[in-house]
Symmetry: C3
Subunit: 432 residues, 3 copies
Amino acid sequence: MFSSIHLIADATLATESVAQAVTAEQLQNVGLTASNIWMLVSTMLVFIMALGFACVEAGFTQAKNTVNILFKNTVDLSVGIISYAWFGFNLMYPGEFNGIFGFAGWGLSLPEGYTSLGYAGGAYTYWTDFLFQAMFAATCATIVSGAVAERIKISAYFIFTFFLVGFIYPVLGSWHWGGGWLSEMGFYDFAGSTVVHSVGGWAALAGIIAIGARKGKYVNGKVIDKPGSSVPLAVIGVFLLWFGWFGFNGGSVLSADPESISLVLVTTTLAAAAGAIGGWLGGYIAFKRFDLGMVLNGILAGLVGITAGADQMSPNEAILIGIACGVVVVFSAIGMDKLKLDDCVGAVSVHLTCGIIGTLAIGVLGQKAGMSQFITQLTGVAAYGAVAFFSSLAIFYALKFTIGVRVSEEHENEGLDSHEHGIRGYTITFDN
Amino acid sequence: MFSSIHLIADATLATESVAQAVTAEQLQNVGLTASNIWMLVSTMLVFIMALGFACVEAGFTQAKNTVNILFKNTVDLSVGIISYAWFGFNLMYPGEFNGIFGFAGWGLSLPEGYTSLGYAGGAYTYWTDFLFQAMFAATCATIVSGAVAERIKISAYFIFTFFLVGFIYPVLGSWHWGGGWLSEMGFYDFAGSTVVHSVGGWAALAGIIAIGARKGKYVNGKVIDKPGSSVPLAVIGVFLLWFGWFGFNGGSVLSADPESISLVLVTTTLAAAAGAIGGWLGGYIAFKRFDLGMVLNGILAGLVGITAGADQMSPNEAILIGIACGVVVVFSAIGMDKLKLDDCVGAVSVHLTCGIIGTLAIGVLGQKAGMSQFITQLTGVAAYGAVAFFSSLAIFYALKFTIGVRVSEEHENEGLDSHEHGIRGYTITFDN
Amino acid sequence: MFSSIHLIADATLATESVAQAVTAEQLQNVGLTASNIWMLVSTMLVFIMALGFACVEAGFTQAKNTVNILFKNTVDLSVGIISYAWFGFNLMYPGEFNGIFGFAGWGLSLPEGYTSLGYAGGAYTYWTDFLFQAMFAATCATIVSGAVAERIKISAYFIFTFFLVGFIYPVLGSWHWGGGWLSEMGFYDFAGSTVVHSVGGWAALAGIIAIGARKGKYVNGKVIDKPGSSVPLAVIGVFLLWFGWFGFNGGSVLSADPESISLVLVTTTLAAAAGAIGGWLGGYIAFKRFDLGMVLNGILAGLVGITAGADQMSPNEAILIGIACGVVVVFSAIGMDKLKLDDCVGAVSVHLTCGIIGTLAIGVLGQKAGMSQFITQLTGVAAYGAVAFFSSLAIFYALKFTIGVRVSEEHENEGLDSHEHGIRGYTITFDN
């Protein structure tokens, strides 16, 4: 390693004796060390959300398509990270880096004018910044895969993902987090209810419209249940997403400031827990049973809902947002089915519906509440929605009329695994 | 965010030049930043124990009850967190907060007289304290669910959980951790072998007695095996519990003191590993086979056993405690079956039996060993046992003679999933 | 706890007023607190790799052998940790500790001349050091289990593991990390492409040769597919390994130096993502399908490949190494099958082949590139290979001609679970 333990050693060397006074610079180095640890822990937690999405989506979709959905989620993450390194990072923060394309040049040198240690007000390094942002971008991509599962053509899917992670997400992200027009206007979205989740949700909705419902999903006005392969797998996924969300929101403080990060984790947790209760109630009202799927989606709904204002809400406001999102997500999913919009895992209801609720809540609850803030929030929601939805729709229709976006009927019936991947997701036999 | 990176920036602003000396207050702020990170990492690890319990219990119970057990674990965690926020936290630490009910009032303001940054000797914030404690409380609840699985009525279960997490656990917790009579007497339980695990274990035992064994479990003096749905799921659960226990014990240091937290993680790890070996030996002696279930319960047994003295034991004493608990847990489980006490996942043997062993071990091994300490430990074990067991039994019997605690025989035969939840845990078919 | 929060409190007590200046020693204590947190987080991440290996191996092997492979992985970790505590740690770092056997004596006292806080240049404690190294050693053992799964005799397996973790791994480790001859020669292996992964890979290869292929794997010149029980389980495993590798490589910085640890996490991530793409391409070229197994092994291949130089490579060099390893691992696996070397999970191709590539890459790319470095790397690879392979082969053949290394044909056909363990890995029925 090239500079291991030098910070701590420096503190010693710079003074003639350990009993001597230290300088502010030495203290800042130790502060950076601590803060950077938090940011990297958060980054790793956001990473594990990719596994969370993979598990939720594989758990909630049919066993004949398990390998396909896992393939998409795994490759999504990988392609997302590489394309964010090569294009997205510079596109999203255009004011800060030299040139549009290329990540930090081709060597170990940093962009001109940057020293790694002096970066971000001393709270983390340039490399940490890239990695945290890259994990966010990859998250956005995986939202789409579950919604359009079980019938999308894999080539079309990957072309769409490339555009979403490489261009749509970073350009839209720059509006708010890159210091663009919405940030100047006072729009507030702490960790991405709109910037990440609703953008992914709009893209998912566009895909659902362009591709159409699964065969046999809506028959004679009835919604036919297509049970997922494994409920335990979905539960693992939701808990991992909750776990990862601690990093998603906690890392969005962009330092380890003790009061901020601990409050953010409290509001995040309470909204998730309240979302579970909201989903429980909503599911019981709608279906007269203890619907675990709705409890799980309620947790995700609460998490998406608090993301815009995790640092703005009191504990009880967080609970309120969580319960609201948990109840609404149930009826949003029912509404989608009424409109024959076939979303295999409820991704649009979770990420889009609750992303909007959470973003608007900034104008109603918490420290920024007020009519003018509400209107600003509404403007942001509308602007993001218009561009994310129509640009996604344009790409999906362009693909539809060229390479096609949907597998053949035979292929859909038999399952995507046997056609594209040549193996099955589960082989639970005890034969010789 | 309202105060991001201000600590680090403050250090700069307060001095005219980075070469100038810094004050003790500035250093304390950086120390708080570091220590608070550890406490939040620990909190997140305790959170993931909830997933660990869900996986263990779903893995070790029958496939026809998978959704039910997952539903309980998911809702437990969520209801536990919310009720701890509203009631438990203040009940458990009555001397410290204003009023009995209500968490930090209804806004962002802290209890009177508290500043977030000056909290807990400068080691973590008020919000961190709540969240870490809330995760502990939620853990206590999940211990019961596995023991009484496959036949308990879901409404009775949730009413019991509400009393356990909202009242029994915090009141009993206050005896030791809230500065109550047992702490004044010198009782020692570092991270909760008794305060958390045996309390949960006593409640589980009370439930087993009140509800009775599963149909067909004990037939003509024989114990009928009811194989769980998925051994891999149980393995995932046990490893996640071990992983989470690093936070359970490591966070109980209540600061990031390097020597303490690293020693605690060493003793925790060695006891878990030794517990596996103890369970292996015990299982081989008892059943003449390599019994993976016993190895897994041995790990948990070792973890429960070391929890009371993780900061008091040397590495080799930790290994001794781990092996003892690993062997004993096997014979405790066999004894339970002899008494026709039907514990689906061995929760009583793991949490109660080994919680007692670990608590008493404080008087025999480690830095506090001695006869008077042993008697104090015994007193604590007995006091906790009496109140936890009989108050739980009272609630379970009150439920039994009112709404009932057990599902119908038909319902039990067909599985709880199809009745209460309307879906199956696994749908592994490859049909069209 | 014996010293909780004393560091932070000391800073206050040592000065008469919080406005007074602090000393370098006080700053070092806070720096140690921060750095030690990172090392413990890394340690916990390496721990979770054991679960990753268990899931990958159980997912990729047949359902009739699931319990067996999980048993091995669980016990491996536990026996590995205990034997490293008793023998391995002192063997590996012989210059540093008193005596050959015994871990830190039998009490809480540290080796003579060591104070916990002054350890490792102030970056972490003695206990942290042990635990981080113990998790590494346990990792090495689990590499073998997947390769020789489904036919190895369990007693032979555990005897081999004991020698590998207790002796071969620590003695070979001391050559480089213990300050031995290879480290003096300038050999560079940052986190163990050779020291950990290729050593495990050579041992696996020796086992495959000594034990022979599974019955029915190679029939009339054809390779017969033996599908694993659960692809989702394998995906969970690979993601957990990637997650854990952040600690494996990030912790190998041996401090929380912000620039080093963040760069190491960037190169690790990019190599893994590029490895996925390499495996995708390789699998498509070789099999004309979207082969998820190859994508997953590509991720592991990229991770193994970057491990030797994670702190030496630029982001784009990391991508290059990842893609190369991802493609090569596919053809290595095909080559193994051509030679009728039956590796159930591709462990040799991942850990040995890519361990060698990564180690040699130090001489070709990055900050140390050069002909003389390349020759040094080649020397190290050859020396490790010769000793690891032949000593493993000797042990396996000694076992073969004494207790035997292979189960009976009947036993293999019926599956190891029903014979050795008496339960099945999955029981997914909904009967009464």
